[in-house]
C-alpha cells in the first residue's frame, strides 16, 4: 500500500500539497543517526578483532594486527563451543521446521475443536519470559535426574522455535485457496501427492522464513541454553563465561565472520529472488 491517491475523481489538485504526511528531511536525518547508533557497537566489535592487545582484557586499542585471524581456532574449547552452536542450530531448524510446519498447516487449513487452546499455548510459549522457560526446564531436569547436556539443549531449542515456525506457516496457509487442493484430488492425486506437489509449494515461503527464524533463534540463544546446558558449551555461553576473565579477540573475529556471513546470505537471498522474479 505505497501508492498515494490514484482514484480518478478524488479531491481537487490544489489540495495535494497539504496531503503529504509529515515532511521527510528531519526524520530522514534522524533515521540515519539511529542506524549509525545501532551499527557503532558492531563497528567497535569488528575493530577490536584487529587489536594487537597483550592484556587479558581487550578494551584498549594498541595497534593493528591480523594475528587473531591467523590464530582463530587456537582456543580449542571456543572452537568446540562454536561447532556445538552450529550443529544444535541445524538440528533445531530441521526438527522445529517439520513439527512447526505440520502444526501451522493444522491451524491454518483446518477448523477443529481445541484450536483455541492450541493458539493460546503457542502464544504463551512465544511470550513467556525465557528466564521462566529455562528455570522450569531446569526444575524438571533436576527433579527427574535427567543429565543436562547437548540433548537437553536441543530439546529446549526445538521447544521455543516450534511455535515461531507454526505461526509463520499458519500466516501463509490461512490465505490459501482450498479449491486448488480439491482440484488436485479431482485429478486423481492422493493425499500425499497433493501435499507434496500442491500444498507444500504454496506454503513454502512461510516454511523458509520459519526455518531461518528457528536457526537464528537457536544459534543466538543464551538464557534458556544457560539453564539447560550442564557442562556443554555453546558460543554465547562461552562468550558469557569469558566476560569474567576477559574476552579474547578471537571472539570478536568470530562475531565479525558470523555477521559477514549472515549479511551476505541475506543480501544474496534478496538478489536471487529479485533476479528470479525479473526472469519471469
Amino acid at each position: 500500500m505505497t501508492t498515494t491517491l490514484t482514484a480518478p475523481n478524488s479531491a481537487p489538485r490544489k489540495r495535494r500539497h497539504r496531503h503529504r504526511p509529515i515532511k521527510g528531511r528531519g526524520l530522514k536525518i534522524y533515521t540515519v543517526v539511529l542506524v549509525a547508533w545501532l551499527l557503532l557497537p558492531i563497528g567497535v566489535m569488528m575493530l577490536f578483532g584487529f587489536n594487537d592487545t597483550h592484556s587479558k582484557q581487550n578494551f584498549q586499542w594498541e595497534g593493528f594486527t591480523l594475528h587473531w585471524y591467523a590464530h582463530l581456532f587456537d582456543k580449542k574449547d571456543l572452537t568446540t563451543a562454536l561447532v556445538n552452536s552450529l550443529t544444535i542450530a541445524l538440528l533445531t531448524t530441521l526438527l522445529a521446521t517439520v513439527l512447526g510446519t505440520l502444526a501451522g498447516l493444522a491451524l491454518g487449513r483446518h477448523r477443529f475443536r481445541g484450536q483455541g487452546l492450541a493458539n493460546v499455548v503457542m502464544f504463551a510459549a512465544i511470550s513467556c519470559p525465557e528466564l521462566v522457560m529455562g528455570a522450569s526446564l531446569l526444575s524438571m531436569f533436576v527433579a527427574t535426574e535427567t543429565p543436562r547436556g547437548y540433548l537437553t539443549i536441543l530439546a529446549a531449542h526445538v521447544m521455543f522455535s516450534v511455535s515461531f515456525v507454526a505461526i509463520t506457516v499458519r500466516a501463509r496457509a490461512v490465505g490459501l485457496d482450498a479449491s486448488i487442493e480439491e482440484a488436485a484430488q479431482d485429478l486423481g492425486a492422493g493425499p500425499w501427492t497433493t501435499f507434496r506437489l500442491v500444498t507444500l509449494p504454496m506454503v513454502m515461503p512461510g516454511v523458509t522464513s520459519g526455518a531461518l527464524l528457528a536457526f537464528a533463534l537457536s544459534v543466538d540463544d543464551f538464557v534458556i541454553t544457560n539453564f539447560t546446558s550442564g557442562a556443554t558449551q555453546t558460543f554465547p555461553l562461552w562468550v558469557w563465561a569469558s566476560t569474567r576473565t576477559g574476552t579474547p579477540p578471537q571472539v570478536n573475529v568470530m562475531g565479525t565472520l558470523i555477521f559477514a556471513a549472515g549479511v551476505l546470505l541475506a543480501v544474496g537471498n534478496v538478489v536471487l529472488t529479485r533476479r528470479r522474479a525479473r526472469a519471469r
Binding site: M1, T2, L5, A11, R18, P21, I22, Y30, T31, L38, L40, P41, I42, V44, M45, F59, Q60, L102, A103, A106, L107, H110, R111, F112, Q115, N119, V120, V121, I126, S127, P129, E130, L131, V132, M133, A135, S136, S139, M140, A143, A155, V158, V162, A171, V219, D220, F222, V223, N226, P236, V239, W240, T243, N252, G255, I258, F259, V263, A266, V270
Partner: protein, 287 residues
C-alpha cells in the same frame, strides 16, 4: 471417507509439535510450580511441604530487585517506542523504493550474537572508549566521568539490544495504513498534527502493542545487560534468580521468584491490553 479423514487430519498434524510443547513447555512449568512450594536443600533433597512462605520470603528479600526490574523494563520499553516510532514512520511513509533496505539496516544488529552485542556496547561506553574518550580529551567532560556500572548503562544496553524488536511491528502496522484514510482526514480539515493524532497513531497502536510485548517481557527478565553493564549495584531480578539457581542452589526460592516474575508480567500484559481496549490479545500479538 474424505470427511472422516478431514476430521482427524488436524489432530494428526498438530500432535508431534503439540506433544513437544507439552513435554518441554507445559510440564516443566508444573514442575517449577511444585518446586516453588518445597523446602530443603541440594544435599538432603527437596520435599513438598506446601511452603507458601517461599513466595513471601522471596518478595521480602528481593522485592526491591523486582521493582527495579519492572522500572528498568518500563524505561527501556518507553525508550524503544520513542526511538523506534519516528524511524518506522519515516521508512513506512517516506522510504520510497528503499524501504526494505532501510529496514534491513535497522535489523543488522541481529546478525551479532546477543551476549557479544552487549559486550560491544560495553566497549562503546568504557571510560576511554570511542564516545567518552574524545569528549574527555576535548575537555567537554570531566576526567572522572563514567557511564558504566550505573542504572543508565543498563537501560541503555537494554534499549540498544531490543530496539529492532520494536521497530519491526510498528513498521508493519504503519505500512498497512491506507493512505486514502489520511486523505479523508485532510479533506475533513484536519491539520497535519490532528491527522496524525486521530488517524495514523490509533491505526499504528496494534504494532506498538506487539512491540511492547516483544520488548517489555524479555527486557524485564534479562540478566545479561545488568551483569555486563551494571556492576554489582544495579542487579535485576533475573540476576537474583540465576544466582539462586547456579551459585546458591536454592531451587525453591528461585522457582518461587520465577513464578512471581511470570505472574507479574502476565498481569502487566493483560492490564495493558485492557487499558488499550484491545479486545483480542492473541490477534494483536499475532500480527
Amino acid at each position: 471417507m474424505r470427511r472422516v479423514k478431514g476430521v482427524l487430519a488436524p489432530y494428526l498434524l498438530i500432535l508431534p509439535g503439540g506433544l513437544w510443547l507439552a513435554v518441554f513447555f507445559a510440564v516443566p512449568l508444573v514442575f517449577m510450580a511444585s518446586v516453588s512450594l518445597m523446602t530443603g536443600n541440594l544435599i538432603d533433597g527437596f520435599t513438598m511441604t506446601w511452603h507458601w512462605q517461599n513466595y513471601a520470603d522471596g518478595l521480602d528479600v528481593y522485592g526491591d530487585k523486582v521493582v527495579r526490574s519492572l522500572w528498568y523494563g518500563l524505561l527501556a520499553t518507553a525508550a524503544c517506542i520513542a526511538l523506534a516510532y519516528p524511524a518506522a514512520y519515516w521508512i513506512a511513509f517516506r522510504g520510497g523504493r528503499h524501504k526494505s533496505t532501510w529496514l534491513f539496516m535497522l535489523l543488522l544488529p541481529f546478525f551479532v550474537s546477543f551476549v557479544l552485542r552487549t559486550i560491544a556496547w560495553k566497549l562503546v561506553l568504557t571510560d576511554q572508549g570511542p564516545v567518552l574518550g574524545p569528549l574527555k580529551s576535548w575537555g567537554l567532560l570531566p576526567e572522572g566521568f563514567h557511564i558504566l556500572d550505573s542504572g543508565f548503562a543498563v537501560v541503555s544496553g537494554l534499549t540498544y539490544n531490543f530496539l529492532p524488536f520494536m521497530v519491526l511491528p510498528i513498521y508493519v502496522a504503519l505500512e498497512r495504513v491506507d493512505h486514502r484514510v489520511i486523505e479523508a482526514a485532510y479533506d475533513l480539515y484536519a491539520g497535519r498534527f490532528e491527522a496524525f493524532r486521530r488517524v495514523v497513531l490509533p491505526l499504528s497502536l496494534p504494532g506498538v502493542f506487539a512491540g511492547v510485548i516483544m520488548t517489555f517481557v524479555p527486557v524485564t527478565s534479562d540478566y545479561v545487560n545488568a551483569s555486563v553493564l551494571g556492576g554489582p549495584g544495579n542487579t535485576m531480578i533475573g540476576n537474583v534468580i540465576q544466582t539462586e539457581y547456579f551459585t546458591n542452589s536454592e531451587y525453591a526460592t528461585a522457582s518461587a521468584l520465577s513464578f512471581t516474575l511470570m505472574a507479574l508480567l502476565l498481569l502487566g500484559i493483560f492490564a495493558y491490553a485492557r487499558a488499550l481496549g484491545t479486545k483480542d490479545v492473541l490477534e494483536a500479538a499475532g500480527r
